[in-house]
Symmetry: C3
Subunit: 303 residues, 3 copies
């Protein structure tokens, strides 16, 4: 499976551009900053800020990698390290994930990680995406996604791995696994997570059409659990967190494992093959050419 990017023609490329623009409400800034993000890959500035409240045992993780919190290798590495630290911290029981970037939760996988990279590097990137999913979906902490902006593709996946999803009720924000709209395909474990959340039929239709749901639509099909006004988001997230933390931890954890283990085991057992699939697909000349055309268009729009 793995990603099967194609982006073979102008229609798809401009479709992606306008979609990003519309979704994030950032217009040209949004598209141009994907490149900017890439250029800062070696920056030592933190892409993630974590604050753990010792009195409640709840950590709040702010994703702060403008313009769109795209999931680059650096971002994912920092994300997983933060997660691991919290997981091992006996005083931390819950994690709220949110964004410091206005109007965007996370735009998903960083396309620049897939262009002009060696097979080794592509494989490293894909392993990091897998690792993020594996760590979040099986976390012993209570995880709440406080979705305060658009959350397409990988951003939606990140939300789906949490125990609970609260989204700001703003019709300009959207959420969904919209990979097909870009000519690519969500891998099987994205799909499994979606099916576990909204059921087979909504997953089938949502994935086939690459639907980006408004908060109201997302609530209706169960893609998010609650929608709230923007200024109530963190308070609500904390209230929900308190409800989850009131449950004896070991019982909650065993129950979570019972529900999610089959899905996790499926990727674990096919992990290496999934990486190989991704690498052999993404390094094809045709795909690389499509990506180059796409990136050139982004640069042109920026100018």
């Amino acid at each position: 499976m793995a990603l099967r990017a194609v982006l073979r023609n102008k229609r798809t490329l401009s479709g992606l551009f306008s979609q990003l623009s519309i979704n994030t409400n950032h217009g040209r800034v949004c598209a141009s900053t994907v490149l900017a993000t890439h250029q800062r890959n070696n920056s030592t500035s933190s892409k993630i800020s974590v604050n753990l409240d010792q009195s409640t045992g709840v950590a709040v993780m702010h994703m702060q990698s403008p313009p769109v919190n795209s999931l680059s290798l650096d971002f994912l590495t920092e994300f997983c390290i933060s997660l691991e630290k919290l997981e091992m911290d006996k005083s931390c029981h819950g994690l709220i994930i949110t964004s410091s970037v206005p109007k965007v939760f996370s735009a998903g996988l960083d396309i620049l990680e897939m262009y002009g990279k060696s097979p080794e590097r592509c494989g490293e990137f894909w392993k990091a995406v897998q690792e993020m999913w594996l760590k979040l979906y099986s976390s012993n902490m209570v995880t709440v996604a406080a979705i305060n902006g658009s959350s397409p593709a990988g951003g939606c996946l990140m939300s789906l791995t949490c125990d609970c999803r609260i989204m700001v009720d703003n019709p300009r924000y959207s959420i969904g696994l919209n990979e097909t709209q870009l000519g690519i395909v969500a891998p099987f474990w994205f799909k499994d997570t979606m099916v576990n959340t909204v059921g087979h039929r909504h997953a089938e239709m949502g994935l086939a059409l690459g639907v980006l749901y408004s908060p109201t639509e997302a609530l209706k099909i169960g893609l998010v659990d609650q929608i709230v006004p923007e200024d109530k988001l963190m308070t609500t997230a904390e209230q929900i967190m308190a409800k989850w933390l009131a449950i004896p931890a070991h019982a909650r954890q065993i129950t979570k494992s019972m529900m999610r283990k089959p899905t996790i085991d499926k990727l674990t057992s096919k992990r290496e093959a999934d990486v190989q699939n991704f690498v052999s697909f993404i390094t094809q000349d045709a795909i690389q050419k499509s990506l180059r055309t796409y990136l050139e268009m982004l640069k042109k729009r920026k100018a």
Copy 2:
């Protein structure tokens, strides 16, 4: 599994009759014409009309086998050949299936194919039913069912295999896998398709009780995706088709395969056994006797 017709007593038989009458709103005409259909099995007149619009790449298939578009071996053969032609036609990307027969989409499997036939012929019939399901459920085309009449049993199955279902909002039309009401049982792959569409619990209850849902009820449980006034059916079907065709084809096709392949593989791997089950069941003396009693009753009602 396979069909397990029984129809052991008058209550069941008259139940079937009245159900067909009620559902199709055809009264005696409906029941009597089942026989008529059978007598035309060797007719060379086309049971299916296909029109492909080269400008849109969308084919519209009208089922035109009065009185109830029942799925006879001839019908299924013609249906599968039409489907195969469209599938191989590079210019065809989408298929809308609808009925030319008033008030009926399709009444399902032709009972006459199961009576007084040799085991070989019964097996051939069952293979054709499997083939129809396999071809439709795995089609590379976008398939939309424009359901403009009642659609019980095999008619419902046909609808379920499409990517999308739109039904005319007429409370006299109904849809569902109502096999148990006739004393027979939907085979496992009918059941799997139902579960994939409406989930385990609605499938369990719908199959056990043989529920025929009104359009409103069908919409509520997700058995159809949209209900529209009769005069808006084809326009809506075309609009939905356009939305699906806007998605890059290969991404949509791979996603569809990812969602449906496990269900398809299940029948493929058990196909021969499924045929044998059907044949050995349907050729039993008790079942054949029940069918004869039933058919005699239909003739009598007709007279």
Copy 3:
């Protein structure tokens, strides 16, 4: 898997107590009577009353083991024997299960069966719980749960195994697999039955949080099929039963088996291991100590 009781601190214990009190609306009486039930374990008085109406073929089973119809070994044994008798009675086609105890359908597994018992006795108890589930979930009869009171944990499980659930629309009654609230975990086959009824996501959230749903909430997620005023419960149960019995029996039974067999086979193939898991868990010193603390608290409250 099996039960993984813990109850390691006062908060959990008093949480359990207040929850039982609130749910059953029995306050101290409720808690105290758990012990009373235990003391009557060797009583020869019947815990279950069964009335079979020969004219309709419908049996009504009243659970009459005050104060809370808790599922002790004696209760389960008597329950399974009654069930087996009805199953073999050719004149019996349907079973309505309800409670004679005011405000409680069943409070679930009797905690006293897990305290101070030999491993052999614990194993015997767990086999009886399995047996109850296996018999009900695969019953050839139409089974309707007429839920006229609270139905937490094992009481909810019993309801879930029926073909149909009708609940009295009284907001003081609740239903759900609330094991985690007590620091214990529902075993995999409780979970499977829940997933089959309400889907993966509602099961995940309901099990993790140990949610006890009001009748209205239970209806909304599909945990029950219908809610009715208390005085309409039995009439409605009988009407629904009549609808199910109108379906040819063998077709209904084969369909039921097709839907439920995979879930049943899963426990059947792991039955002995599931017993061992339960016994080795429940007989741990730490667990026994927790149970003792809990039971002492109940006695104290009673005094």
